[in-house]
Each structure stands twice: as structure tokens, then as C-alpha cells.
């Protein structure tokens, strides 16, 4: 058993002595930073496979009355298919693409957040990067939810009322 060298307690230097805890202007700002994405409502959400045809993918959006579905292959997120994809790559080319797999028209490699990220991170993806839908990944990289502005808005309003 090795012996620790003696250290005079008077010489101890706290490694966090220069650490300043973050200061927040109000409760909303604090909650945006200190709560977790897992505290937000991120469900329900719909996942589809990348080999689903564009026709079937669109029918899924309409049938479920949603504007976006996550595209998942072998349990891993590979894309998003949303109203914007339909506008930009399907609407005027429908007859050419309707029987092709949705992987050809989806948004590939979407930005995501993790369950233990802050709500501010999701806001960053929406406001900073300009994406309306933000998939949520768990620790095993599987999709556990989908955030959109109304769901984040619910969080904001809840904390307005509590502020």
C-alpha cells in the first residue's frame, strides 16, 4: 500500500475557487438552462423506415396529422421527413418521386439534442440553426422524442406562469 505524501492543509488550493456559479436574470432563463430536454413533452412522435415510399410517407403524415416524422434505420436516426421536404423535393415532382424511397427526399443527418441537454440547446437548434423539428436521442442513440416549437412553447408558458 502506497502512502500519500503529506500535504499541509494550509497549502490546499481549491480547484474550483475561481468558479463562479452562473447567474440568471429570471426563472425562465434558469429553467431553460438547468432543466433537461427530458423534462419537456417530446412525445408522441412517429418514426418511419427509409425504404417507405414517398407516397406512403406522405400518407403517414396526413393520416397521423403531423408535419414531420423521424426516419429510423436499425434503430438509428438517419433523417427527418417533413412538410418542408415535401414542398422542396416532392410537390412539383410527385409523379417522378412518389414510388421512390423516402430516403431520397428526406433531410439527412438532422441536428439533434440529447435527453440530458438543456431546453436552451433545443432552442438553439430552432432559433440559431433554423430547424423546426429537433429529434431527441437517448443515451443509446435511439430516438426517444421529437421537439417542435409548440412543445417548447408549452415549456416556456408553464414557466411564465410559475415565474
Amino acid at each position: 500500500m502506497s502512502e500519500q505524501p503529506y500535504q499541509d492543509p494550509r497549502e490546499f488550493q481549491d480547484p474550483l475557487e475561481n468558479y463562479d456559479a452562473p447567474e440568471y436574470a429570471d426563472a425562465l432563463e434558469k429553467n431553460l438552462m438547468e432543466q433537461r430536454v427530458s423534462d419537456l413533452r417530446t412525445q408522441p412522435f412517429i418514426s418511419i423506415g427509409p425504404e417507405l415510399t414517398v407516397r406512403e410517407a406522405l400518407a403517414t403524415l396526413v393520416g397521423e396529422d403531423i408535419a414531420c416524422a423521424t426516419v429510423v434505420e436499425d434503430g438509428r436516426l438517419v433523417g427527418l421527413f417533413s412538410d418542408r421536404d415535401a414542398l422542396e423535393r416532392v410537390a412539383l415532382e410527385y409523379d417522378d418521386v412518389c414510388d421512390k424511397p423516402v430516403r431520397e427526399v428526406m433531410t439527412k443527418e438532422p441536428l439533434f439534442v440529447r435527453e440530458d441537454d438543456s431546453p436552451a440547446a433545443a432552442l438553439c437548434v430552432m432559433a440559431g440553426a433554423g430547424y423546426r423539428f429537433v429529434p431527441v436521442l437517448g443515451a443509446d442513440d435511439r430516438v426517444t422524442g421529437l421537439l417542435n416549437p409548440p412543445r417548447l412553447g408549452d415549456f416556456l408558458q408553464a414557466h411564465f406562469d410559475g415565474a
Binding site: 406522405l58 396526413v62 429537433v134 416549437p149 416556456l156
Partner: protein
């Protein structure tokens, strides 16, 4: 002043309004879709001869047409637009936009001036940007992923 007070007191004109795509009701829907693509906007405002909004067509409405009535893509936008749509004035508080977004689940909100003419477009994105601008040092420096983290540690 905190964010909540700002939302209640600051006018809609403080939002970063987007330039709205406006069209007459006679424009064919396919041309409307082309304009939406060019501007990267999911909404078009249909206006009358005085530039006052009389309808709205959105990409959500397009989704339904693609599945349920593709022949409508050959119609004029005036035949497929929504006649009832959310709008606010430049001087209304920003909270009215948030209310339209949360209570009525509208994504786009037309903004009009004192004469009722189109002044811009806002909605979910505008409110999110406004809130992010209040906490830029916190919000806009957040990590967001595009690829899962490495499965094995890098280096020593």
C-alpha cells in the same frame, strides 16, 4: 425588464419579421409552390388589390393536397387558400403571436400595418428567435449534435 414583461409589452414590430410572399388569388398553385421554394418559406399570403391579406396558403395545406387531391395543384391559389387565418398588427404585443402559436397552434401569423396592408410575416420561428435573442450567451452557444458521439474513446 424580464422576458415575460417584454413579451407582454413589446410590439410585434420588434420581432425580426420575415418578408411575406404575397400573391393575387389568380396565381396558379404550381407557381405559388415555386415561389415558396425560392424564398424558403412555408407560407404565402394572398392579397387583394389594396395589398390587404384575404387568405393564406401553407405547406401543411400542400401536404393534404398531395395526398387527398393532387388535381388541385392545377387550381389557382385562391381556390385552395384558407380564408380564415391569424393576423396581428405591428403595434400588438408579441404575446398575441405566442398566443396564436400556443392556443390555436398556428405556425404562421400575418402582420399588417395600420391600414391593414401586409407588413410582414411571423410565427413560431419569429418567437423562438426573439426568445433566443434574450439569452444569446446561453442559448446560441449550446451544443447540438449532427452525429452520435464516438463509440470508443479517442487518444490515450
Amino acid at each position: 425588464m424580464g422576458l415575460q414583461e417584454n413579451l407582454l409589452n413589446e410590439p410585434v414590430r420588434q420581432l425580426a419579421l420575415r418578408e411575406a410572399i404575397t400573391t393575387s388569388p389568380d396565381l396558379p398553385l404550381r407557381e405559388v409552390i415555386q415561389r415558396m421554394r425560392e424564398k424558403g418559406l412555408g407560407c404565402v399570403l394572398v392579397v387583394d388589390a389594396e395589398a390587404k391579406p384575404i387568405g393564406m396558403f401553407t405547406e401543411a395545406m400542400l401536404r393534404h393536397l398531395l395526398v387527398e387531391n393532387r388535381a388541385a395543384l392545377d387550381h389557382k391559389v385562391g381556390q385552395e387558400m384558407a380564408n380564415i387565418f391569424p393576423w396581428v398588427e405591428l403595434t400588438d404585443p408579441i404575446s398575441t403571436v405566442l398566443d396564436a402559436m400556443q392556443t390555436k397552434r398556428h405556425r404562421f401569423v400575418a402582420v399588417v400595418d395600420a391600414d391593414g396592408k401586409v407588413a410582414g410575416l411571423t410565427g413560431q420561428k419569429g418567437v423562438m428567435e426573439y426568445i433566443a435573442d434574450h439569452f444569446p450567451q446561453h442559448v446560441l452557444t449550446q451544443r447540438a449534435g449532427a452525429e452520435p458521439p464516438l463509440s470508443e474513446r479517442e487518444g490515450a
